[in-house]
Each structure stands twice: as C-alpha cells, then as structure tokens.
Symmetry: C2
Subunit: 213 residues, 2 copies
C-alpha cells in the first residue's frame, strides 16, 4: 500500500546507459522502475523478467526482491511511471478538446512502451499517476455537463478504446516488422484511432444536446 514518488527518470537521465555499479545500500526502488522502463522500451513489457531486471541493474542476483514484493508490484510501478508521462491539458480547455488531447498523447506515450497498455487494461493499481489521470478525466467530463454515472461510463469506455487500440497496433506492427523490417509505422493506425475517438466524442455530444436519456 506504499505510494511511490511520481518522477522516476530524472536521476539516471544523464548517464547515457550501461549498467552502472551500485555501492552497498545505494540502490532504490526507483532505480528498479527506471531499469524496468528501459527494458520495456527496448524489449517490451512481456520480456521484462526479474532476472533481466537484475542484469540491467548490474546486480548478479535476486536482491531486487528486497525493494519490491513481487513481479506484479514492479509491473504496477512501471505502468504507473508510464502513465506519468501523459500530459494533462490545462483545465480551461473545452471538455471534448481536452479528451482528444489526453487520449492522443496517451496513445503516443503508450506506443513507446509496448505491452504496458495491455497491462493497464487488466490492472487498476490505484497508484498516483493513475489517480491523477482518472481524476482529471472525471473532472473534465463533469465540467462538460455530464452526470457522475455518465462520466464514469464514458471514462471507462474511452480507456478500453485507448488500451485496446494501442495493444492491437503494437502487436500487428511487431508481427509485420518481423517479416518486413524497417517498416514499423503507425500512420493509418493513427487515423483509425482518431476515428474511433471522434465517434465516441460525437456520441457524447449527442447525449448533451438530446436529453432523452
């Protein structure tokens, strides 16, 4: 139930890479998360194992279990760090434009961390960046004039679309990249996602103008 800090990347961003050496007691939980983020960017979330994490840290062994209860908690922490990279627009942006911006940026961020969207589909961690994001969404929808039940439903279905789209895009992209390398692009994928997002937003706009529900 411990709440980790929000920022993760700052400490190691200047070193450039290569497993640095840790003096006794110098390693922290945030270092695990940073290593997890690096492995995820390079190899994807499902190649992130406890043993690879140790190797990435230059640690010969299982001392990572001292900082993290189990692999599940590590995945939650890495997932929340990824959510922390999503930029929330200012509060005075109109509700539908606010949603377009968050979900467009969310897609871009999640595409950089293959497999994380899939994890977020299955886990509600309650960690700070996740809370910040979902509270921002709820506030925006309420401010847009939707009642609590409607904004909760809208929030969840929009999340399904985002996580589902990114998961599918990454899977088919890496599948075709295996056959035909150097062609991993998401151009028409973006059009499909924007289309789906706009469908939902248009549905929400109709809900407002036509109060038959």
């Amino acid at each position: 139930m411990s709440q980790p800090k929000v920022g993760h990347e700052a400490a190691t961003s200047g070193t450039g890479g290569g497993p640095r050496v840790w003096r006794y007691g110098e390693l922290t939980r945030d270092d695990l998360v940073d290593a997890g983020l690096r492995i995820t960017r390079r190899q994807g979330f499902d190649h992130l194992s406890m043993r690879k994490l140790a190797a990435e840290l230059g640690s010969p062994s299982m001392n990572t279990y001292y900082y993290v209860r189990n692999k599940g908690q590590l995945l939650d922490l890495v997932g929340d760090a990824v959510l922390g990279e999503i930029v929330l627009p200012p509060a005075d942006v109109p509700w539908d434009r606010w949603l377009t911006q968050v979900f467009t940026d969310g897609r871009t961020v999640l595409l950089r961390y293959p497999g994380v969207a899939q994890h977020l589909l299955r886990r509600v961690s309650g960690l700070p960046n996740e809370r910040r994001l979902y509270q921002g969404l709820a506030a925006t929808l309420r401010q847009g004039g939707f009642d609590e039940a409607t904004s909760d439903r809208a929030q969840r279905t929009l999340a399904y679309l985002l996580f589902g789209a990114v998961t599918s895009e990454l899977a088919t992209a890496t599948a075709t990249a295996a056959n035909e390398p150097d062609t991993m692009s998401f151009s028409d994928d973006a059009e499909v996602f924007d289309f789906g997002l706009e469908l939902m937003l248009e549905g929400l706009r109709q809900l407002r103008t036509d109060p038959s529900e």
Copy 2:
C-alpha cells in the same frame, strides 16, 4: 497455412468429462482444440500450457506437437473456435441493430473464455471463424451506407472496444473474486459496455446524416 474445420465441440459433447483414453492414431487436432477450450473455460487462457494440454488429454507427453506447430498455433485455433460461438444475426436486420446484437453476443461468449479477448486483440489469425465475423461486419456496414474506409475503421474501433472491455472486466472480476468469493458478477459492466457501444453507433449515425466528411 492449413485451414481447420469450423466445428469443434460436437465429438466430445456427450462424454461429460474425464480424460478419455485414445487408441493409437485416434487423436486429432480438433481434440487438442477441445481440450484447450475446456482448460480455458476452467482456468483461463494464460493457464493453458502445452503440458496441461497433454494432461487434459490423458497423454503422458509431448505428442501434441505432432498436431500443432507450436503453442501459438494452438492459441490461434482455440481463439478461432471461440469466435465460432458468436451468432451472426440474419442479413435483413438494420445495420445498427445488427452490430448491437453481434457485439452483445460477442461479449457474452468472450466472458466465458477468460483471456481469449486479450489474445484476439494481439493476433489476426486469418482463420475461418474470424474471417466469417469480419466479413459479416464489413458487409453490414457497407449495406448501412458507409464507404470502405469508414467501415474498416468502424469495424476495428468496435473490436478494440469489445476486446478491451472484456479483458478489463474479467481481470477486475477475478481480482475482486479473489478477495470476496461468490461475487463474480458483470451487471454494471454490461451497462458500461452497452453505453460505449451506443456512443459509437450514435457517432456512426451522425456520420450518415451529416455528410460533412
């Protein structure tokens, strides 16, 4: 590239369970798929291993590899068998009602096979039941008056919603069921899904009446 048969359950539906004994040469690929479906219903897709499959078949060993190239192919076959359980409405049903019926039934079917929705999000197998479903969707949308690009995009975003929703529902349901057993229900989940589906359909209806795109 071999195309398996569409029906899978018929042969073993009467036996009631228990690993029957197979005489030499009696085992078929369909028997593997049936066993895979049973394991998936009971334990979920990610607990389906090649060793458990062998155990479910009463086979002491790895002879399953004789009928299937690797685990990936088995998962594709099981996934396609699940898609085969989705009922397609008759062709004269109006396009939006047709879509509501398929996706509602699709959700019900996928909820019976935990983890399969997640697999379908990542894999386009090209197997017969998948083709049947996607061709039905395409035909319905075209008949509804949408051009090819629009119906392709609509089809994909609706699939993202379905697979994403089911994946999320099952994950949180089993998570709360672990803490509080006998309470695995999907009642308000259904409302959320119906809401999201209706948002998209309303967006599509707007696209038809307002030809500004």
